[in-house]
């Protein structure tokens, strides 16, 4: 790591489960006329296609860059289409070109979207990414002048204030953000952090508990709860929170440090020493990794990687604006440019894939998601998206292979089992296997969608009673889902 000491953010290993949207605003896949004579297959298939496609498509298109933006990490060990490690002078030229390109785009956006709050936010984010906090704050404030209820902008302003140690100002902004959107991710934890920094530990705990409800698998939140409780001398509670952090991410070294302190405070010296030792070991490994990254050609690569990522992010932000205006040509152009700039940026491919799907170019869409699989072989969403589109293209065997891969990568997640079951049910094949898969999905994740698929499978396997029970469970979880109601009535009627 270089002298600027950008502290590596503690990465949360593993993805969070996908969010469900019951009323998606975009449908990426058109409904198709049923080819099967069965009314029930038709109904279930229609619901499945529309519902699933909408969920994944909307998720892909409208996922906030703030959620998916990652801190630059070490370059991938097998770069795909990645240019060779740059010489110093090549790096300089490329850096200059990238910045010029990015500045040009920001100007274009400002011109194309005058007095537009999203364009102003984009400009603010752009400046912020390049360390120009003063400019960033200016643009964010201009955005708030147009729409004072932008919780995301208040959040950004809060973070900027934290970065300069202006915690009271940060707390003010986070408070406003929370007032606007109490359930927004990534705000209560920041508020908690700011309160912690000024020694307001009781209040910090309250905010962090809210954050925990919103993001139950956030390592940072659990860790900070541990820290706040430690400061409040609630050592047992602190201990529990540190352990919860480690359940989510066993490599989160700060939690070991916290446990060492907590156990020491609880006068359990043996345990304190145990966790100190674990902390030291992990810390040593990380320090070693940092040293490798801070030497030789890695020094230039890291900066160039970070710069590419930053510039690509600006393109992704711009793309959203053009898409909202339905300027498909410009959206596609922007996304392609982003990919050219940062060829290993999966988010760029994801959005381009979603765009192609939306504009009826499924073959091209599949290609984009397959690129993601090449870059990140363990990215289950690329396979899920691929599978879904292959179904539209009636390439069921290929779709099956994609879903099987999801199960292989993430056997502890329900989604792979559920989608494969759904595929079988839609194609009226392997119904018994579909039933098993659906049951597995429910066992792993008793969500409405899992129960729905189970109901479908049970129904097609002749178990109407079981199907009825399953759809009722789905309705319990989503009582306003009219399609579930419809299915339930149909099954009830049949019974």
């Amino acid at each position: 790591m270089g002298k600027t000491r950008k502290k590596p953010k503690r990465r949360i290993k593993g993805r969070q489960p996908p969010k469900k949207k019951s009323k998606p605003s975009h449908s990426l896949v058109k409904s198709k006329s049923p080819s099967s004579p069965s009314k029930w297959i038709l109904i279930f298939s229609a619901i499945a296609i529309v519902g699933t496609a909408a969920i994944w498509g909307a998720k892909s298109l409208f996922r906030s860059p703030l959620d998916t933006q990652k801190k630059p990490t070490a370059p991938p060990t097998k770069p795909v289409g990645h240019s060779p490690l740059p010489q110093k002078s090549t790096a300089e030229i490329e850096s200059a070109d990238l910045k010029k390109e990015e500045a040009k785009l920001v100007q274009e956006v400002s011109r194309d979207f005058p007095n537009n709050e999203d364009a102003l936010k984009l400009a603010g984010d752009f400046h912020s990414r390049h360390g120009r906090r003063t400019e960033a704050v200016k643009f964010w404030h201009q955005c708030l002048d147009i729409n004072p209820r932008r919780s995301d902008v208040h959040r950004n302003l809060g973070i900027a204030a934290v970065d300069t140690g202006e915690f009271d100002e940060a707390i003010e902004h986070f408070s406003k953000a929370i007032e606007i959107n109490t359930k927004a991710e990534g705000i209560h934890d920041k508020m908690g952090q700011a309160l912690f920094e000024v020694g307001r530990y009781d209040e910090a705990v309250k905010e962090l508990e809210e954050a925990r409800l919103i993001s139950p698998r956030s390592v940072m939140v659990h860790f900070l709860l541990g820290q706040a409780n430690l400061k409040l001398k609630q050592y047992e509670k602190a201990r529990v929170h540190y352990h919860q952090a480690l359940e989510i991410d066993p490599g989160y070294e700060n939690a070991y440090y916290g446990l060492a302190r907590a156990y020491a405070a609880l006068k359990q010296q043996e345990k304190a020493r145990e966790y100190q030792s674990k902390f030291r070991k992990l810390e040593g490994l990380r320090a070693k990794e940092d040293r490798i990254l801070s030497t030789g050609a890695n020094l230039y690569t890291r900066d160039l990687t970070a710069l590419r990522r930053a510039v690509a992010q600006t393109h992704l932000d711009a793309e959203k604006l053009y898409l909202a205006r339905r300027d498909i040509r410009k959206t596609e152009e922007t996304l392609k440019k982003a990919i050219e700039i940062d060829p290993n940026n999966c988010l760029c491919y994801e959005r381009l894939g979603a765009l192609y799907n939306m504009t009826n170019r499924p073959e091209e869409a599949v290609r984009q998601f397959q690129r993601i699989s090449e870059i990140e072989p363990t990215n289950i969403y690329s396979y899920l998206n691929t599978g879904r589109i292959l179904i539209q293209l009636k390439k069921h065997d290929a779709a099956k292979a994609a879903y099987a891969r999801v199960i292989q990568i993430a056997p502890e997640q329900a989604v792979g089992y559920r989608e494969l079951a759904r595929l079988y049910l839609m194609t009226n094949t392997n119904l018994a296997e579909a039933g098993k898969l659906a049951q597995k999905a429910v066992n792993l994740e008793p969500s409405a969608d899992s129960f729905f698929v189970l109901a479908w499978a049970l129904y097609l396997n002749g178990d109407r009673t079981g199907a009825s029970k399953a759809i009722q469970e789905a309705l319990k979880l989503e009582p306003n889902n009219s399609k579930y109601k419809q299915i339930y009535e149909l099954i009830k009627g049949k019974n």
Partner: protein, 582 residues
Amino acid sequence: MSRIILNTSRYMNSLRAKIEKTNALGHLRIIRRAAILLTLFYSAGFTAHAQAGIIFTDVTDQTGITFKHTDGSSGKLYIMETVSAGLALFDYDNDGDVDIYFLNGSALEGTKFKTEPTNALYRNDGNWKFTDVTKQAGVGDKGYGLGVAVADYDNDGDQDIYLNNHGPNVLYRNNGDGTFTDVTKSAGVGNESKVGAGTCFLDMDADGDLDLYVSNYIVFSYDIHVTMKMDGFETYVGPKSYPATIDNIYRNNGDGTFTDVTEESGISKHAGAGMGMICSDYDNDGDTDIFIANDISVGNFLFKNDGTGKFEEIALIAGVAYDLHGDEHGSMGVDAGDYDNDGLFDLYVTSYQSQTATLYRNLGDDMFEDVTRTTGAGSGTIPGVTWGTGFVDFDNDGDRDIFVACGHLLDNIDLFDDRSLYSQPNVLLMNDGNGRFINVSKKSGDGMKVRLSSRGAGFDDMDNDGDVDVVILNSRRESTLLRNDSNQKGHWLQVRLRGVKTNKDAVGAHIKVIAGDLVLIDEVHSGRSYQSHYGNRIYFGLGKHERVDRIEVKWIGGGVDVLTNVPVDKCLTITEETGTSR
């Protein structure tokens, strides 16, 4: 009749008008007087407010000090350019006032100077006038200065200088006549050719002479030199781009020579990126322990002395290796002082941008707690890079305040991070007496408005007026001298210790001063803060107490001397075994 009435009316009107005019004038006068009085009160109040608390005045221009630091840079961005240098405040000629020794950089590869820069010794002539006596004294070392410690290593009654350089180190023995001799070779403390950092003299084995701890920064040579980019801009790397290194410790043989005992002391097991350091008996067990501020590598070190000069590293267990989150900091400087007057030495460690300087409260039993947030001791330190620091009672009110010298080490930081600048104002944190610090940087006189890239800082009474002043070395620039002009100061006591059976400089000795309900402690250091040296005289602010009831001096490796009923507002020299011993 009517004429009379008319006349009367006119008269009455006239009278009324006159009265009214008089009244109006009277009112005006009253109002005017009131306004004047109010203005006077307001001004007095304002002035009083403005001059309340700690005030520093920048008196650099009147001192005659022309020293200007160079980092020896040539645009190649060598890492040591960013970390130079410390300074020393000490009485080199034993004339009763504090002189100044500035460290300087020198030509690095690719740099050529017409006149080679050297370190500089300025003799204090009194009344804030200083004379450059470098040449006469023979201390114009041309090496790349980084750290310095001062002490009477040979127990001959005058103070010697040790320089921890990038390159060979230097030991200047004071000849007692205003001149020094380079005795590095014969003493055996050249330390090869490393990148130096902080350095301290200490009596690690309580045998009456001063041993030497030499902290080293990184392993560096020109063929492994690298730079990096931030947002496309080329800039300096940090210590992680180079191998970590161990420090060295030398035992004084008592005959003017030293032996390298790094291995047998236990120090050699721990490699880091040493910067500032301090030797302090933090556990009050009668021997001197060592704290090393490591720059973003393995966390800080706390070497606990077993009394014989063998050390065990316990920083992690003690809670001073990292901050309260377990994150390592880019630690720079450190001071030890009892900020809460509980009889235990606490630690204050400065650090890099976006990291607060950290206050570790000593809890006893080898445990510390990071209390930065609850005490406000990190206020103002996040945007800057913080270096030299000291626990000093600037207003003599009986509790120790904190001064922090600031300045970024990346001279182009504003190109890719406008939260910070290369030149930064320093920070002053006033102790409110209740365990909290208030950032009074903007209210403490023009001396706190100086914006340079500061590094080493020293705190001593430069004008012998009873309060502690500040001397700062600024990277690539002239130095800064701040005169303490605080109003409403309390009583004070300054103590100079002279060892007899123990080391003559009394390095490592503990002093406890008791005045009524006020109990203050301090100890004598050689080398501290950011690679600097100051404070051979120990300063105690006594607030309203007009008498010191008791002074206890615990000599390292010696006994305890007690003095009672000591008058205040004076500088007292206590010689070992002249008090009531116990």
